[in-house]
Amino acid sequence: MPGPKGPGVTIIHKYWRIWLRTASMAMQAQLTYRLGSFGFLLGKMISLFFFFAFMAAVFQHVETVAGYSLVETALFFMTFNLVDMTAQILFRGVYGARRTVSEGDFDFYLVQPCSPLFRMTCSTVDFLDIVTIIPVIVMTGMVFARLPTLGWLNYAAYGLLMLNGVGLIYAIHILVAALAVRTQELESAIWIYRDIMFMGKFPVDVYAPAVRWALTIGIPIAVMTTFPAKALLGRLSPFWIVYALALTAVALPLSWHFWKNSVARYTSSSS
């Protein structure tokens, strides 16, 4: 029976509670793994620090890169980090998808009164990324403070395209999870995504035209990471904003369909 607030609210409440419970379990596990967690956290911070130091050092020698100043390039870099880390916090479960399937845990997901896709993708939360995203938010604020005055529409487009980017990343994660269910292999599929995402650290304009098109149309890293920052700077035409939104609107149902099809073919892989 749906509650007094309606079935939609009840479902959201249920999933929120499941997420909180699994997130709490993940946090407890990470807290018991203190030295390991500290090492991973320090590694993420080192990576962030060195890249930022690299950018700052590079701009000691040049005025602009591909037509962007230091502050603008930093905006691209911070936007990449915000989108990427948000996705890592929310969809971390996909990184262990193949193991979930091959060890038989996925069979349990299927009989639980909860979406197996939700269990597979969202029920593992990496708290180290939550800690890492705090300095990223602070640094993004510092970058914002150095930008010229921009209209509220720019900020609205920035926020919308960031959300859109996270949605597109979710579509890719669904695809990877579906491949794990379908093949019980392709463990490295998520890592190839991570390596290709590396290209999003720089504005897409630094790449050769062919690569730029590939990153906009083929593997749309640019849509996830470069578009929000370009929209904020007022350098993205309405056509590309519509394209970005339409791409996610198509990619999400398609990956969802692929997931459902993969689950329908699944015949259990453990003993």
Binding site: Y33, R34, L35, G36, S37, F38, G39, F40, L41, L42, G43, K44, I46, S47, F50, F51, A53, F54, A57, V58, H61, V62, V65, A66, E185, L186, E187, S188, A189, W191, I192, R194, D195, I196, F198, M199, K201, F202, D205, V206, Y207, A208, V211
Partner: protein, 264 residues
Amino acid sequence: MKKYRVAYQIALQETLQRRSTLIMDRLGGFAVVVSLYSFWTALIGDKATFLGYTRAEMLTYVLALNILRSFVFTGRGWQLVGEISSGRISSYLIRPLSYHGYALALDLAQKTIHVAASFFEVSLLAVCVRGELFLPRDPATWLLFSVAVLLSSLLFFFLEFMVSSLAFWTSESGGPLFCFELFLQFAAGAFFPLDVLPLGLRRALEATPFPYMVYFPVRIFLEKVPPFEAMGMLGMEALWLMAVFTAAMMIWRRGVRSYAAEGG
């Protein structure tokens, strides 16, 4: 030696058997190289030199990174952590072989495949950039570079082995290893030449063994270092290798003494 040769051959076959994983690994690494290559191309723009590197030298640096990443940064650290934590290391300790020799044989198999793949990728990119690359004029440079890369590879192997051996005392050694590898890649110059860093920071890094893994070998290849100075660098690298090897073996022996495994 025969047993290590057999281990090498089996590892080679295993790596080639997992072709999809290999192709995906290479594709991911290639994306990083294309990314860095494009960024440096944008940085150089129409300038004749940037940070003392000509366009051809800088682009060669980025492409050499791909080969060096494949040859230097493919240790057995994560496998060692897994084997100690799970207790699988016990079965190696009772075998009539040296674990280090066995791990080196497996590592060499991995390097063989990845270096071959990286040469193919670099050739592909070299064709795309229409041969705008720097190749050493002095034949001695090739020899010096080869020795430097060989020493770098062993240096990384034993450094990683040393950090991974923490697993003998704690089941949480994955974190420190992750942190170490990330720091090492930046400090070695595997993302950008260390010339870009402020002088003080660069000097501090140059006093560590890390730049000997990528930055110095590429500088030798680009003939930025006179041959006599390059030989001095190799001597220093050999000293670092001896120091790291001694420390790694000492930690290993202590670790094995404190190691205990339960169950069958």
